[in-house]
């Protein structure tokens, strides 16, 4: 459980740090970024977990999303893990950008050769919170989750599969219905096998239909000029339709002119931090 500090930079009155540790769940060294707001010097703070999208590491979010000022203002620790195990020497792990390294889809793989290391769902929901709560001044009862694209899918799935565990959830351009899109179908068949019924456990649109638990308040931003929206990788309408039917509260904002990039994310980051702060600091 020993942490190695990789970097530490003062930021927005607090510190943006990166650590490395040996993950028991993933059986490899993993890096994660943690932003400690000024409030963390004296108080226990709630934690927001951020899951990045395809091909990203822990660096993309902390260098591009501009979350630190808002996190400092609301006194929130922001944790951003890497998006997959790395250097596990699995055959084919680096062959494509949308499968293997940087493309874990935040599932626990059941298929060889991925099932040993590709257990990102358990890592994100169990091991990482344990590590964070053990090493930082957190309030373990107050955590929330947010993500972008594949990470948005991961965030929604984590929240829907663990009612009450996350006080808030939000997403930027999430893959809402992976069973119905090319990215999801490729990843799920690789990690989970051909039986589509096993995929349902990791599909937000399916999960939301049977959700039962504390009231959710899902907040989603989507760029209207997002190429992956038009190529039907994200399918937010499917999620909205189910949520409307099942009376699951969603605010979905279609932002005209914005694409899928971190330029889009940083434009609305403050609104998301505020959304999380409302529930984390309630």
């Amino acid at each position: 459980m020993a942490l190695t500090q990789v970097s530490s930079n003062k930021c927005a009155g607090g510190f943006q740090k990166v650590f490395e540790h040996d993950s028991t769940e993933l059986k490899c060294k993993m890096k994660f970024a943690v932003y400690l707001p000024p409030k963390a010097e004296t108080d226990k703070c709630p934690v927001m977990y951020w899951l990045s999208g395809l091909t990203c590491t822990e660096q993309n979010f902390i260098t591009k999303a501009g979350s630190q000022l808002a996190a400092a203002e609301h006194g929130i620790i922001v944790v951003a893990p890497d998006t997959s195990p790395r250097g596990c020497n699995i055959e084919g792990e680096d062959e494509s950008w949308d499968f293997g390294t940087g493309a874990s889809f935040f599932v626990d793989a059941t298929q060889e050769p991925w099932s040993t290391n590709y257990r990102m769902y358990s890592y994100v929901t169990e091991e990482l919170p344990r590590v964070i709560n053990a090493n930082f001044p957190t309030n373990p009862d107050r955590m929330s989750i947010c993500g972008h694209s594949m990470g948005g899918h991961g965030a929604l799935v984590c929240a829907l599969k663990n009612p009450g565990k996350y006080k808030a959830v939000s997403a930027f351009a999430p893959i809402c219905n992976p069973m119905q899109c090319p990215w999801g179908q490729k990843a799920f068949s690789g990690y989970l096998g051909p039986d589509r019924s096993t995929w349902e456990a990791y599909d937000a649109t399916v999960l939301v239909a049977s959700y039962s638990g504390p009231q959710l308040d899902i907040f989603i931003d989507q760029g209207r000029d997002d190429q992956f929206l038009s190529s039907s990788q994200l399918l937010p309408d499917n999620l909205i339709a189910i949520c409307s039917e099942k009376k699951i509260p969603v605010i979905f904002r279609l932002q005209p002119g914005y694409d899928h990039s971190y330029y889009f994310i940083c434009s609305f980051m403050n609104d998301h931090i505020k959304h999380h702060a409302k529930y984390l600091n309630a």
């Binding site: 609301h74 009231q215 308040d217 907040f219 209207r224 909205i240 949520c243 409307s244 009376k247 699951i248 509260p249 969603v250 605010i251 979905f252 904002r253 279609l254 932002q255 005209p256 505020k274 959304h275 702060a277 409302k278 600091n281 309630a282």
Partner: protein
């Protein structure tokens, strides 16, 4: 037109110099009585020590009693003596005054007699002179007649003696004619002045009157009426004060007052008596009367009763956690110099705490009052003029929990009706005839909408709106001057959330200047929280049931805004006020 009132009367009080004197005397009496009782006390304190000496008790008792009796007598005597002394002084003073008065009076009488003597002496002299003048004139006339006859006689003799017959004949006829003429002239030979000497009787009646009134006090001089004292009136009574000259003796005063009427007074006196109750401004004059007579009237002075209590316009009062805006009507035509707003905080158990704060000299019929958050206040208003302050108006309760406002009903579109409590608006199905569309400048003419009367305080405000799932509505804020012929949200002076029913779904827009972000809401809000933060320049909307944030406008409102509520199809919505803003409303 003047109505005398015999004093004393309940409504009028007299403060005069005489009363002061009497008061002084009363004080003297008390002082002397005090000193005697004090002596008695000292003596009774010494007696117990004497009793211990072993004297025969009964004798001692007797002695003590006798002594006490004597002491009492002495005290009485002293008392009586001091009374006598006072009476002596008063008698002396009164006699002094009386003597002065007598002397004055006799001087007056002597002066009058001397005047009369002078007058009569002068009259006699006059008479003598005129009589002598008349006699002398008559004498002269007789002399002249005598001379004339002598001349004639001489002339006749001369003619008679004349030798020349021709001359005689020539002169005799004219001379005879002259003698005839002369004989015709009659000389007044009666005495032109009367021989009687008339002595008219001396008219001593005024002297007699003077002598009769020699023991009577003079009629008083005109009292001096004082200008109205501050706080000396009530709503139905006045305290009119005047003073008199110290030498005057007055049996009673008469107070005359003439109401100042704003409208033309009716002629009949009975009607005027009725209006006396209503009239609040009056001219007062006073006369003083004693047995001798009535004084001239004092100068006129303007007096007024206090105003009627103002009437708080409950429906135009508005509040927020930091302040309240109270509006009222003067409630009377009486002159009002200013208003006093009184407020006291209500304790948690609903009783009025003793602490009352007053805001004085409020010149207009409204007042913005700074208050503490989360309390309840009792607020009332008084009107003030020179006469004093009115009774307090009806008390209203102001709660500083949340923001409170009523709707500005004069802005409502003719198709909107508003419930009796003022918080639910209805847009009915029936078409209004064009005649019912009597519009004034303030009325919404296109958008079926109404404004709320938000307190002009640049702080945080929160209210909620309850709507039906099927109601198409617009709710938000707008500047007071927002275009009345435009739709809410369609211009740059209004910001609103709009609900549209499409055949496929519920659509929500957050409109300003005709533009809305593209937004999907999966659960239709039916209770909407609206949070306005002037300092941060935000207007946020929430689904209250879910505590879900829906949208936030960012705008630094240059002017004060009012809540606005519109209905785009027949239906209803209800405004909920005085709600403490939830924590999430102002993150």
């Amino acid at each position: 037109m003047n109505y005398p009132v015999s004093v004393p009367m309940d409504l009028y009080e007299i403060i005069g110099g005489r009363l002061d004197v009497i008061e002084e005397e009363a004080e003297h009496q008390e002082l002397s009585r005090e000193s005697t009782t004090r002596k008695a006390c000292e003596d009774s304190l010494t007696s117990p020590t004497e009793a211990e000496d072993g004297h025969d008790m009964s004798t001692e008792c007797e002695i003590v009693m006798t002594r006490n009796l004597l002491q009492e007598k002495v005290a009485e005597m002293e008392n009586f003596a001091s009374h006598l002394e006072e009476i002596f002084l008063t008698v002396e003073e009164n006699f002094g005054r009386q003597e002065q008065h007598l002397e004055q009076h006799y001087n007056d009488v002597l002066q009058t007699l001397s005047h009369q003597y002078d007058d009569r002496a002068a009259g006699l002299e006059e008479e003598k002179k005129s009589k002598l003048e008349a006699l002398y004139t008559q004498l002269l006339t007789c002399g002249r007649a005598l001379d004339a006859s002598k001349d004639l006689i001489e002339m006749a003799q001369e003619i008679y003696r004349s030798q020349d017959k021709r001359l005689f004949l020539k002169a005799v006829m004219p001379t005879i004619k002259r003698i005839e003429d002369f004989a015709k002239e009659e000389t007044e030979l009666s005495l032109s002045t009367s021989l009687e000497f008339n002595t008219p009787l001396a008219d001593l009646s005024d002297v007699k009157t003077m002598m009769d009134t020699i023991n009577v006090v003079p009629a008083p001089s005109a009292p001096v009426i004082n200008p109205q004292m501050p706080n000396s009136a009530t709503q139905t009574s006045l305290r009119v004060c005047w003073s008199l000259f110290s030498d005057d003796t007055v049996e009673y005063y008469e107070l005359y007052y003439r109401p100042l009427l704003e409208d033309t007074p009716a002629d009949s006196s009975s009607e005027l008596h009725v209006s006396k109750v209503k009239v609040k401004e009056t001219h007062c004059t006073v006369t003083a009367t004693n047995t001798t007579g009535i004084s001239p009237a004092s100068e006129k002075a303007l007096y007024m009763t206090v105003p009627s209590p103002p009437v708080i316009k409950q429906r135009e009062c508005t509040s927020c956690p930091e302040a309240a805006l109270i509006r009222w009507q003067s409630g009377n035509t009486n002159p009002v110099d200013s208003y006093t707003v009184e407020l006291s905080e209500m304790d948690t158990d609903g009783t009025e705490s003793g602490i009352t704060e007053s805001i004085v000299a409020v010149p207009a019929c409204q007042c913005l009052i700074q208050l503490q958050t989360g309390r309840r206040y009792l607020i009332s208003v008084r009107a003030v003029n020179i006469g004093g302050s009115s009774n307090r108006s009806e008390v209203i309760t102001v709660s500083t929990t949340g923001t409170f406002f009523y709707l500005l009903e004069d802005t409502a579109h003719p198709c909107l009706s508003i419930s009796e409590d003022g918080f639910t608006i209805f847009y009915g199905d029936e078409e209004l005839p064009i005649t019912a569309m009597a519009l004034d400048d303030n009325t919404f003419t296109r958008c079926v909408a109404v404004l709320g009367d938000l307190i002009p305080v640049r702080s945080r405000h929160y209210w909620e709106v309850k709507v039906d799932d099927e109601t198409e509505f617009r709710i938000g804020v707008a500047y007071q001057a927002t275009e009345r012929n435009s739709y809410l949200g369609a211009n740059n002076t209004s910001w609103c959330m709009r609900h549209i029913l499409t055949p496929s779904r519920h659509k929500y827009e957050f409109l300003h200047n005709g533009w809305s972000p593209d937004l999907r809401i999966t659960v239709n809000p039916v209770r909407i929280g609206v949070a306005l933060d002037y300092s941060r320049g935000t207007l946020s909307f929430f689904n209250v049931d879910l505590e879900q944030h829906l949208h936030t406008f960012h705008c630094h409102f240059q002017n004060y805004v009012h809540p606005c509520f519109g209905l785009d199809n027949p239906g209803a919505l209800t405004v909920h006020n005085r709600i403490e803003a939830p924590k999430y409303a102002f993150i």
